[in-house]
Amino acid sequence: MRRNCSSLKQRGFGLKKHCGLSYNKAMQALALRRRNMLKASIFAWLTLFGFGCSESNLNLLDDIVPVAGFSEGAEVKFLKCEPTERVERQAFKKQSLRLSRHQFELTIEDLFMSVSKDRQLVDGLLTQIKPQVSALPVESHLKMDFFDSTMTVAHVEQIFLAAIAAADFISSDSSRMDKIVGACHRNLTDLNCRDTFIQKFGRLVHRRPLSLDQLGYYQQVFQNDANKGYRQLLVVMLSSPGFVYRVEGLEVDGYDIASRLSYFYLQSMPDEELFSAAEGGMTAAEVTAQVDRLMKLPVVRKRLTRALANQWLHLDKTHAFDTNSAAVQSMLSGLQVAASPEQRRLNMIQEVYDFLDFMIWEKQAKFEDLFLVSWVFPRTPDLAEIYGTPVWSGDYNQLVAAPDGQRAGLLTLAHTLFMGGHSTRPIMRGVKVYEHFLCGELPTPEDNSIPEGIVLRDDFTEREKTAAITQHPGTSCVSCHLSIINPFGFSLENYGPFGKFRQSESIFHPETHALKGQILTNRSVSAETEISMPNLKRGEVGRVKLSNATDLAKALVSNSSARACFAKNVYQFARQQEFEKDEGGCAVRAVFQPSANQTIIQMLSAIAQQPEFIKSQSHSGVLK
């Protein structure tokens, strides 16, 4: 979104006449207004992000509101949170959500575990439905898969076929039927058996007790073909709207809240305790008690960590090794520890899970801590070689620290740095930092053409090559690359393509060259750069000089934008819905602002206790 001038003027800046000026001219003009230097600085920040890179900005910097704790008079463009708008902006949207692919699978697992208590049976069932679950479409363009609630015929068909596969697996074996329906299933005329099953299983499927009409309907389904009535029931129930969607009534009740809690914390249906609480209507106190209970469950720890990591950091989109590249092959063969490229990739992903598991649950870290620790978690020798450390045993009492000054938490994990190819791809790294950790949005470049007159020497470092192509004066690339993308990426140049710390870059012969895969030369690398960040405490935009990734990490954590971005991501993850452009400010601020020492666990707990999380919208959009 591009800021327009009128809104600035309305805020008292009186800067309309500067709109449309270049960054430099805007700065010169603004410099004359020393009495209002604070506001001028903020405008420069807006200019930089809102005009120079014409369609990009930090989404979080979406309005100007006071931020508690900062010096008097300082104002920060931040998430909008007008009290009068609070209600309609924060509540869940009116449309029910479709279970994501992963949630669909977990819900089936929990449903049948809840009924059968038989791990082997459930594992067998999950194997049966794996092909259909894998074929459920996942929208890959969205930031979080969660945000896609589209239902297509492909979804409908795969859900239907999965239901058939599950039902056939259960109904084809009498011992399995014993565990799901009870031994009474053998007597097809036992209507009490039928009705008990419908009510008991239906309650779990629909995540609430069935109405009498529903009971009647499922009785009809059974009677329509009594010889395989239970099988038919299973198929129909597992395809029903109450199972496939998180259907909420206009009046949200305890069961709706139980599902909101369970699909946040468990990524699945409510457990029995949530069901029990739901029956009582789920008061605010009960929600607090349930959140406290859930946060102590090992299954929540595992599922919440993984789902958050997957959605926030897009782990399912992790690059594959470009094994077609001779340089990549050469680099792989140069490593001492043998491992397949795919296994290396999976190990990097696993480390992200381990890192977040430890930081969030063991260390009870604050968001800032994610970027300020030197621990690494290489479970395998191939990853340990990248870090130059011993293999981590998996024991949190025996942590592995990277060599001094080499690592900055999440920012420098191998997964964050790895881009698949033989180059460090500073652009992609920069975009990743900007989008994942600052919630920045960038326009897609209009084209990839190299400006005329640019000479790219074979012995250019990746940084030199990137700068030559994207920072050429007079091109449209400059506005985004010079100020935003490249500096973030360049600050990570001390790490090679696979994430290994380095002082020099091995430059390979071009892939077109007869000597491709061989090193042309080694040149020293520089991670020194300068980024633009708003200094919220001083209320001005600052140019922050960086020497390395650790400096970048410090710059990120000392800036509220990164923390707010994380809070926004977590809140969206919890709601499973993306905030619209102007939404979310109140909720995110409420979650992230109470205390500077707030841990991530506290943040995760606080979200579900927000009034907006447990209330609903009526037709008129007013909370009830």
């Binding site: 589209t150 239907f160 009409d213 395809s239 029903s240 206009l250 071009p510």
Partner: protein, 524 residues
């Protein structure tokens, strides 16, 4: 594994174990034509490709040298579309010439002498497509619109709102894809169509969008086979399976209807948005149910073997389906013709990194040109229809990329078409719709002039299929098919870098014309 076999007619042997029958069933024709003389049915295939960014050198006719020069332009016929020098812009003159005249046999291409010295249109549209030179049209100057619209998959098939990287376009009213729209239109299949699957689509990404503009997933060859031919299947086991599934879908449908009818209990009223969602789901279930309806009809001999999974299988299924009238609409998302593991980042978005990378990209499109386009055209041409004509003679096949010759450019999106759809289109042309007087366009690139809106291409395709403006004027806001991003504001904030000359790239007259088929190709 037991084969699903329907015997009575002759077979063609597929390469991957797929056998399909090809003769058109004359018995279908009366249903398709109710006049005294037989009106042959029409067919369409949309082929979409990821990216684009083919580069001018490898995509445009080599006879043009990759870029225009005045000497070449002088050889082309000119036609003035609009005149005037007022605020609406300046003279808009388009160019056209016979595509055959652009055939050349350039040597020294970095890709090597892949066509053995034969003349060809371009490196990508190589000599293998020469048999279609007179039934082909090559378009330049078909634009997505006034603003950058990256990764516009839906633009290829008519849904302007299905654009990944532009909120402006995503927020436009959604529209169905052309294949879906035609499949629902009584003028195409007739008011009482019995087509259980009015269209087919396959590939890794959907090009088909339903009436709500929601994507419809692609299909495997096996799924496609089932969709198209199961209604002709007399295998008792298959019939029993279908009946079972149809009954189950009936039950599920009722379950969804129960939700909207209050059967889920008092106090469980759902929002109007959710009711709409449920209705959409019911529609999807109805679509699904059609697959399980067995009929007593026959569609020739169609045999499925266990491993019908390849692109070639899919094309053969499409040809067989067209031939026997199981469907007449298709959309194909062409697979990338490269096994590079990081194609998106390391190739498609790095084409200028080196000539080698450029050629990986170029050859990926040439691969599609051979393995998708040529094979599809050959299949349709070899499929007899009636009266000595082939399915191809009644077809429009068009191939559009996400971008133009530069990646992420929606200016002059790459587009070629094949077939005259029973004489509805003039073919054999190279047409340049750009307004070369107008410099108000994306960057100061060679040949960077605004052309006509892509909606005129949709109108052209619909015209080819027998529809008129009145048939599609209701699809979106305005009379054109699909949405338009109506803006004559220019330049964008950073367009100062682009060398624009304060020209309005898309004056109102172009929006007014957006509902019309393309000149030169239609009419005369």
């Amino acid at each position: 594994m037991k084969e699903d076999k329907l015997s009575r007619r002759h077979f063609l042997q597929g390469s991957s174990g797929l056998l399909v029958a090809l003769p058109m069933l004359p018995s279908l024709l009366p249903r398709l034509a109710r006049g005294q003389s037989v009106t042959l049915p029409k067919f369409m295939v949309i082929v979409g490709s990821e990216h684009g960014g083919t580069g001018a050198r490898d995509w445009y006719p080599e006879g043009l040298g990759g870029v225009y020069s005045e000497s070449i332009l002088n050889q082309l016929s000119k036609r003035q579309l609009f005149s005037g020098t007022d605020a609406e812009g300046m003279n808009h003159e388009i160019l056209h010439g016979r595509l055959r005249d652009f055939l050349s046999s350039q040597s020294g291409h970095p890709g090597g002498d892949v066509d053995s010295g034969q003349q060809r249109v371009s490196y990508i549209l190589g000599a293998h497509l020469n048999p279609y030179i007179d039934s082909m049209n090559f378009y330049r100057g078909i634009d997505i619109g006034p603003e950058y619209a990256g990764h516009g998959v839906g633009v290829i098939s008519g849904n302007m709102a299905a654009v990944a990287n532009s909120a402006t376009y995503r927020n436009l009213p959604k529209s169905p894809s052309l294949d879906y729209f035609l499949g629902q239109h009584e003028k195409f299949y007739g008011a009482n169509s019995t087509h259980s699957v009015p269209r087919l689509f396959f590939g890794g990404r959907s090009l088909s969008y339903d009436l709500e503009g929601a994507p419809i997933g692609g299909l495997s060859a096996n799924q496609m086979f089932t969709n198209l031919f199961s209604k002709y299947d007399k295998n008792p086991t298959k019939i029993a399976l279908n009946n079972d599934r149809k009954l189950l879908v009936d039950h599920i449908l009722q379950d969804y209807k129960n939700l909207t009818q209050g059967a889920y209990g008092l106090g469980r009223k759902i929002s109007s948005e959710d009711k709409q969602k449920v209705e959409n789901h019911v529609g999807l279930l109805a679509d699904l149910q059609r697959k399980y309806v067995n009929t007593q009809s026959s569609c020739g001999d169609v045999v499925r073997q266990p491993a019908a999974t390849t692109l070639e299988d899919q094309i053969q299924i499409l040809v067989a389906a067209y031939t026997c009238g199981a469907t007449r609409l298709g959309a194909i998302w062409a697979p990338i013709g490269s096994n590079h593991p990081n194609y998106h980042d390391s190739v498609a978005h790095s084409v200028n990194a080196s000539e080698e990378i450029r050629m990986i990209h170029t050859n990926a499109f040439r691969w599609q040109s051979i393995n998708v386009i040529q094979k599809l055209l050959d299949g349709l041409r070899n499929a007899p229809l009636a009266e000595g004509k082939s399915v191809f003679d009644q077809s429009l096949v068009y191939w559009m990329h996400e971008s133009g010759v530069e990646t992420h450019s929606g200016s002059s999106v790459n587009l070629v078409s094949f077939g005259n759809a029973g004489g509805a289109l003039n073919t054999g042309y190279f047409v340049d719709y750009r307004n070369r007087s107008n410099r108000g366009h994306f960057k100061n690139q060679t040949g960077g002039h605004p052309g006509l809106l892509v909606n005129q291409w949709y109108a052209t395709a619909l015209h080819a299929m027998g529809l008129t403006k009145a048939d599609y004027a209701h699809v979106s806001v305005g009379e054109q098919y699909g949405s338009v991003h109506h803006s004559n504001q220019w330049p964008r904030a950073n367009a100062a870098y682009h060398g624009h000359m304060n020209h309005i790239p898309y004056p109102d007259r172009l929006y007014t014309a957006a509902s019309n088929p393309l000149p030169i190709v239609v009419g005369e």
